[in-house]
């Protein structure tokens, strides 16, 4: 591409939130018809920058230039009018409305006096899904759709706009290979039509496949911009984290052969049936399997969230029930769910309150909370985990995903768990924070606790687990002990799909 006036330019964009400088002096430019990847660790400021472009946030300083003119994008509606469309990282769909209404939310085709032209909206929606090569019942409500389907609706919503700039913030996270291939086809055809695409992703493979240029953000500043052709994966990672990718998983440690938890013939409804396994003291037991194989259901049953129909739990040599979550916690179990926002953080509370909420009983003095002890404990725990924040009084929702996860870990550690269950520990978390979270889990094991980790990322399961329990359709499909040699992705995948499929690609349906 020769010298060409950029379609879109950020000039010295700075954005500060109370106590945090999210962006400082960001200069970036985008050419017409290019796919420009934006990478960086979580909390690097990618989403904030995109929200400024979409009118959700206003910059503290700096200008956005569009088509050569400085523009102030005051709200999302203005951004839409300018032809800037976005696929948000967190879903932007209305649960109570159907697919059609969501795709054309605020841009409903209207006829007489503002009455909706539902037939036209349905037709256009069907066309978009056809273009995407996806089958979709467009009259269903969003709340009835799976996460993958919701993501597809999200993409359709963005495609329904005749956009000049299309921002995709982690569009691929829940998608399977097949859908991802389709998505890339769509991106290429949009590019040919002259649409500028800003592509945000943690998946470096995707960037090398689809992007023309890449810009790296680190701690709110642009550290590097280059043509993808001139980059290598290693170089990109180094620019992002300043560290090589190899040493991301800590040493596996040396768990004892003592058995901490002995699970026999555990069943719960149709979710899991007849599961038996033993958890050793000081080990990380990985739970692998496809979505819907019953991994998180097993954890929820152990934690008393799902009722168990049959089976027995022997913990530290005694028989326990774990009939409810509170009983499980009292027995020394703890659980960190995968959906931080819904099941983890208490959004309106600050970091201190979020840290101590599960162990407030320890800070009681004649029935009242001793704030001093509480603060000291919360401070110590968060310092140990290196939670990045200006103060403990900061609202937890202002933290990045990785730092929120650290607060949740701090909360868990204060309860001094013996059996620590964690689901998708690093979902949506950048490489640097991932490494730190792995280390925290490993330290927990060194201190004599045991970890049960559910993860959909095979490298993570293999890198972290001492042993791996593979599940398939609610049953145990196999147990892989890594002391006998490192497991391979193929090995686990073949157990997870019950040998029925070929081992290439991540077929999930």
């Amino acid at each position: 591409m020769a010298q060409q006036m950029p379609l879109l330019e950020f000039r010295k964009i700075t954005k500060t939130f109370p106590g945090v400088k999210a962006l400082s002096d960001v200069d970036m430019s985008f050419r017409k018809g290019e796919v420009h990847a934006l990478v960086g660790e979580n909390g690097a400021g990618k989403s904030t920058l995109m929200k400024i472009l979409c009118g959700v946030y206003q910059p503290t300083a700096g200008e956005v230039h569009f088509n050569g003119k400085a523009v102030g994008i005051k709200n999302p509606h203005e951004a839409q009018l300018m032809g800037i469309s976005i696929i948000f990282q967190e879903f932007s769909l209305i649960n109570h409305l159907d697919v059609v209404s969501n795709v054309f939310l605020n841009r409903e085709p209207v006829g007489f006096a503002g009455f909706k032209d539902k037939a036209l909206a349905r037709k256009k929606t069907l066309e978009i899904f056809e273009r995407m090569g996806v089958e979709m019942d467009i009259d269903r409500k969003i709340s009835e759709l799976s996460v993958v389907e919701q993501q597809l609706v999200e993409i359709a919503k963005a495609l329904s706009v005749t956009a000049q700039v299309l921002i995709m913030d982690e569009p691929s996270a829940p998608l399977t290979d097949k859908e991802l291939t389709k998505l890339f086809e769509i991106i290429r055809s949009l590019k040919e039509q002259g649409v500028t695409i800003i592509y945000i992703s943690h998946m470096l493979e995707e960037i090398f496949e689809i992007a023309d240029r890449v810009t790296v953000l680190k701690d709110g500043e642009v550290t590097h911009t280059a043509d993808v052709a001139d980059m290598t994966k290693d170089l990109l990672v180094k620019k992002m984290v300043g560290r090589d990718i190899d040493d991301i998983y800590p040493e596996p440690g040396s768990p004892s052969s003592d058995i901490l938890l002995d699970v026999q013939n555990l069943s719960s409804g149709e979710r899991i049936s007849d599961i038996s396994f033993q958890l050793r003291k000081g080990e990380v037991l990985g739970l692998a399997g496809m979505v819907g194989s019953g991994r998180s259901e097993l954890v929820k049953t152990l934690m008393g969230i799902h009722k168990k129909d049959s089976g027995s739990l022997q913990f530290d040599g005694r028989s326990i029930e774990n009939a409810s979550m509170s009983e499980a916690i009292a027995n020394g179990f703890y659980y960190i769910p995968s959906d931080r926002k819904k099941e983890g953080i208490v959004a309106p509370m600050n970091i201190r309150e979020n840290t101590t909420i599960a162990s407030l009983g320890d800070f009681l003095n004649r029935g009242l909370i001793n704030r001093k002890n509480e603060t000291v404990a919360a401070d110590a725990e968060n310092k140990k985990l290196k939670t990045k924040t200006s103060s403990l009084d900061e609202q937890i929702r202002n933290l990045s995903g990785g730092n929120q996860q650290k607060v949740l870990l701090a909360r868990a550690l204060l309860t001094k768990p013996k059996v620590f269950c964690i689901v998708e520990p690093t979902r949506g978390i950048d490489v640097g924070a991932k490494h730190e979270i792995y280390k925290i889990l490993r330290d927990l094991c060194e201190a004599g606790s045991s970890v049960i980790m559910v993860s959909s990322e095979l490298p993570e399961v293999i890198g972290m687990s001492n042993r791996i329990l593979v599940m398939n359709q609610g049953k145990t499909a196999g147990l892989v002990d890594q002391a006998e040699g490192q497991a391979t992705e193929e090995q686990i995948l073949s157990l997870a799909v019950g040998h029925e499929y070929s081992l290439h690609g991540k077929e999930t349906s």
Partner: protein
């Protein structure tokens, strides 16, 4: 039209869906009332229960529903009704030659002004809607008592015809209600405003980042609600031939009860107007039944409270599933 298949109508899971559940209860109540009271099925009683008595509450419940769908609540409806009925009677008393049209128009403007006040406090100043509209209620009550301490009667025939005139045996006030209902239903289900209203009430952050002007939509809901309360007051003053400081008493809770029974979510963004109207009929048949059975009105009040608790508990349980 898969929603109309036999399986879906009989399927018990479908029946407990908000909206359908209402009609099931309504049918049960109709049968129970018909069996236990010989008077219930007389044409006079039926006309009263279905075509005249519910109109005021039905229109006011539409007001409450629109505001609830937007994610807010209106606790000032009762006082607003009292104010506007009193105002209608007062206008006819103090200005002898005033035309019914002028009175209606003044009521409508007053209703919209009250809606604007509620909206200004709850939406612009972001005072929690419950508190803001409760404050409005007290404010309006004060205005009424400043003006009169006792009911004012004597509304002329020219204004009363709305509630008394019949066409082919059907009171015209029923058509009055029907037109308002059809307009509102079209607005909520077929107009883009409806989409925006449901989206805003469902999740105002997401609606906002989708480009919907959420502040304006919430404000419009209050304005529309105010206008509907005025339309309800026009009917009520016509029907009673007057108005007073207590005319609207009970309407704040009755409108919420009817809406909640009908499946309008207290959390906003969910529920159909038709369901809320079903809720109104349930309340009406309930109190008609109680009256026919000669049950003490205080016990009726108590039972109505129980109904609201049950309805809220029912939907809360459904939501948690």
């Amino acid at each position: 039209m898969k929603n109309l298949s036999v399986k879906n109508i009989i399927n018990p899971k479908e029946l407990v869906k908000p909206g359908k559940f209402v009609w099931l209860i309504l049918i049960v109540m109709l049968i129970a009332s018909s069996v236990s009271s010989p008077i219930f099925l007389t044409s006079r009683n039926l006309r009263n229960v279905f075509l005249i008595q519910p109109i005021g509450l039905a229109i006011a419940t539409m007001a409450q529903s629109v505001v609830m769908i937007s994610g807010n609540i209106d606790m000032s409806i009762a006082s607003a009704v009292s104010l506007m009925t009193t105002m209608a009677a007062g206008l006819f008393r103090d200005i002898p030659d005033i035309s019914p049209f002028t009175v209606s128009l003044l009521l409508l403007l007053t209703g919209i002004a009250i809606g604007a006040l509620n909206g200004f406090m709850a939406v612009i100043l972001r005072i929690p809607a419950f508190m803001a509209t409760l404050a409005t209620s007290s404010l309006l009550q004060g205005v009424i008592f400043f003006y009169t301490k006792r009911p004012i009667g004597g509304i002329p025939k020219s204004f009363r015809f709305l509630a008394s005139y019949k066409v082919a045996g059907i009171p015209i006030c029923f058509f009055y209600f029907l037109i308002i209902f059809l307009v509102m239903a079209a607005l909520l289900n077929r107009h883009r405003f409806g989409n925006h209203l449901y989206a805003t009430g469902s999740d105002d952050y997401i609606a906002g980042i989708s480009g919907i002007p959420v502040v304006r939509v919430k404000m419009q809901a209050y304005l529309l609600g105010g206008a509907l309360v005025a339309l309800a007051s026009i009917f009520l003053s016509s029907r009673m031939g007057g108005g007073g400081p207590t005319t609207g008493d009970g309407y704040e809770l009755d409108t919420i009860t009817a809406a909640v029974i009908g499946g309008i979510s207290l959390a906003g963004g969910e529920g159909k107007l038709m369901g809320a109207i079903g809720g109104v009929f349930i309340l009406m048949i309930f109190s008609n039944f109680m009256n026919l059975m000669d049950i003490n009105p205080y016990i009726q009040m108590f039972l109505k409270g129980m109904i609201l608790i049950l309805a809220v508990a029912f939907y809360a349980k459904k939501d948690s599933e």
